[in-house]
Symmetry: C2
Subunit: 156 residues, 2 copies
DNA sequence: TAACATAGGCAACCACGTTGTCTATATAGT
DNA sequence: ACTATATAGACAACGTGGTTGCCTATGTTA
């Protein structure tokens, strides 16, 4: 404990940094034709992926109930980011797929994140940024997926 | 853009690191007699502070409506972390104060955060950790307060 | 073929946010 | 001093996203 840095600053800065990046992402997404998308939607669409999923699968992946996943899919469907299609091999299932519009949001997000990272690299230096990422990797679970992000902050 | 690191990893790791710390905090708080406290409550109680506030003031500080602040105070009051007392100088106002139990949660939180930071220091080295904190400080707004954290994830 | 498991959807509920409105009390202006 | 305005707190109605419980339809297995 030979440090004079209070421990609460670290989580605060981590959250603030995350927020900053996400806010910048969505400001830019809004400019690029995606004004209605919300942070959670990005996570969910990432989880859906280009090949699609089902509500149950999505719920498992995100760590929420299938009903919650279903509701989120409802919302994304309403604003045109995903669509439900029948599964010919199992008529119970409905495959949730990204629409071209949804896919566009995803590819733009990836590009914007790259740009934001590049901005950090010019501010901090590529080596410092790599060190930062490496340190965070060391202190967080190996597999980033199965981060049951949606609702985590709300429910707890 | 001479990096092979995809940009989306950075925000993901930041969030994951935050989550990890908060989860560890609350696991430890639960062991120390605070099983019902939730992440948001910690932020709110931190904002209330040892000297107390009012609902309006708290709402302004947290960036939410006074009604939302009032509801949160209701919850914290119900589980015994704060109490409302009359303000003798302005009978409209009700001062929200931390109870001894609430104050206990706050001091324990501070101590646990210090311990968690010390753990990071042994894993990464104090110098690397300081560099990480410094870099995050550089990339985030100067004043950590007025992070309107509660509900940010939910509403967006 | 009967029994069980699974997918999706519906209802009721909870937590937390919003806006609008109402009452009570301060405070400022004439 | 009295009226007008501003502020604090509470209440209601609503939106969103989470939960659990239950129901129906369809696969799967004994």
């Amino acid at each position: 404990m030979s440090s004079d840095v209070p421990g609460f600053e670290l989580p605060l800065r981590l959250l603030l940094a995350f927020r900053t990046l996400i806010d910048e992402l969505h400001a830019e997404l809004a400019k690029q034709g995606h004004p209605d998308i919300r942070p959670m939607h990005g996570f969910v669409m990432q989880a859906i992926g280009p090949s699609g999923t089902t509500a149950v699968e999505l719920g498992r992946l995100l760590g929420v109930s299938k009903q919650a996943a279903g509701k989120t899919i409802d919302t994304l469907e309403r604003i045109g980011y995903v669509e439900r299609t029948a599964d010919p091999e199992d008529t119970r299932r409905k495959i949730v797929r990204l629409t071209p519009y949804g896919l566009d949001a995803l590819t733009r997000s990836a590009h914007i994140f790259d740009t934001l990272r590049a901005h950090w690299a010019t501010e901090l230096g590529e080596d410092r940024l790599r060190a930062l990422e490496s340190d965070l990797r060391k202190m967080t679970p190996a597999n980033p997926w199965r981060l049951d992000t949606p609702g985590w902050f709300g429910t707890l």
